[in-house]
């Protein structure tokens, strides 16, 4: 069980833990939820969305300081 994480320029395959939500994933990669929008398989999703096997998760940074 795995998923693909695209975070800015970086793309990697990660092992999938059971019931991993977008919120937990963002906590793991130390990315504040309020500064990003996340797409799952090309669709915008909310933080409670659960990641499934082979999903492609894209973290789009929309807010920078200043």
């Amino acid at each position: 069980m795995q998923f693909t994480l695209i975070n800015g320029e970086k793309k990697e395959t990660k092992p999938l833990k059971k019931n991993l939500t977008i919120k937990k994933l963002l906590d793991e990669i130390e990315t504040p939820l309020e500064t990003v929008v996340v797409k799952k398989n090309g669709e915008i999703v909310i933080e409670e969305e659960i990641i499934q096997d082979e999903d492609i998760i894209e973290v789009i940074h929309i807010i920078y300081g200043g």
């Binding site: 504040p32 909310i46 409670e48 929309i62």
Partner: protein, 316 residues
């Protein structure tokens, strides 16, 4: 979880401040309706206005351009755009291309004006001169000078900026904490200029949170430049932005209440503290100014002195 408006299963946002959950279509509609309602309610735009959008190519200006295009298509307003090239290497070029593409797609007049052509200095050159003020201070003053002058030359009756709820909350707190009451009295959905040479500026996204602007751009598949300005990271605004974001986690309505509270006390503030400007024309550039020299010309002279001093120090 289902959309609270149409029952569709795929929701893209849960608004913590209102409890609303929305699907993509209902979210897009809610933003468009809210912005157009605010424009009507606060009389920001009138039929026949010639509206110039300050179009950086970032998410905020691209969003406001997209929403105002509905008024342009219905021939309620004329629409045009102005893009400023501050001269920030590795940052601005992509945004300018995106801005130009949007203007071309909508078939609107678009002018790209650089710091270099107006002041013979790029922002990179200004900051390399080891100046006494922060980058955002120079950039803000010089950008406003260009936008106002260019909008006037293009015959605009309104200048639209993409300031969102986060920007406005930050401005209120920054000016309050710095004790800058004169600046506080000027914060609002529109300006009331003391000179005909200042074009009225309006902020139709003032009540839309920054994150929702980002979601709107992605939901509408609009191309936008998302990178942060390399000079803004260490600014006081960035510090305040962080404080407000941290507070918002447990207090999701804090930005709205800051704005609402401020709008109420602003009436009293304006009455008590409104500076009685006696505007004249800058002796150097002819633009309206409270002093003999406008702030843009004052800053340019300051920077020239820094550059001469640096050259002198390098030679001896």
């Amino acid at each position: 979880m289902k959309c609270t408006r149409c029952d569709k299963a795929e929701i893209i946002i849960e608004r913590k401040h209102s409890g609303q959950r929305l699907c993509i279509e209902c979210f897009i509609l809610s933003i468009q309706k809210k912005v157009l309602k605010d424009i009507r309610k606060q009389k920001l735009i009138e039929k026949g206005d010639r509206v110039a959008v300050a179009l950086s190519g970032g998410k905020d200006s691209v969003t406001v351009l997209d929403i105002l295009n509905s008024l342009y298509e219905r021939k309620i307003i004329d629409l045009m755009a102005i893009t400023i090239d501050e001269g920030i290497q590795g940052y601005r070029d992509e945004a300018i291309q995106i801005a130009a593409k949007h203007a071309q797609q909508l078939g609107i007049k678009h002018r790209i004006v650089s710091f270099k052509e107006c002041f013979n200095l790029s922002l990179d050159e200004i900051m390399a001169s080891d100046p006494s003020r922060g980058a955002c201070t120079y950039c803000g003053v010089l950008r406003r000078w260009i936008i106002n002058k260019t909008a006037r030359e293009m015959g605009a009756t309104k200048i639209v900026t993409g300031h969102n709820l986060d920007d406005e909350t930050q401005s209120i707190l920054m000016n309050y904490l710095e004790g800058n009451i004169d600046n506080l009295t000027r914060i609002g959905a529109r300006t009331f200029p003391a000179s005909d040479n200042f074009v009225v500026k309006i902020k139709p996204l003032r009540e839309i949170p920054e994150k929702e602007v980002g979601i709107y751009v992605l939901a509408r598949n609009l191309e936008a430049h998302f990178a942060g300005c390399p000079y803004s990271r260490d600014s006081f605004r960035a510090e305040i932005a962080q404080i407000v974001k941290d507070l918002s986690k447990n207090h999701p309505t804090i930005m709205y209440s800051t704005l609402r509270g401020f709008d109420k006390i602003k009436i009293a503030l304006k009455k008590e503290y409104s500076p009685g400007f006696n505007l004249k024309n800058c002796i150097n550039c002819g633009e309206p100014s409270a002093q003999k020299l406008c702030r843009a010309c004052l800053f340019c002279r300051e920077i020239e002195k820094h550059i001469h001093r640096n050259k002198f120090n390098a030679n001896y």
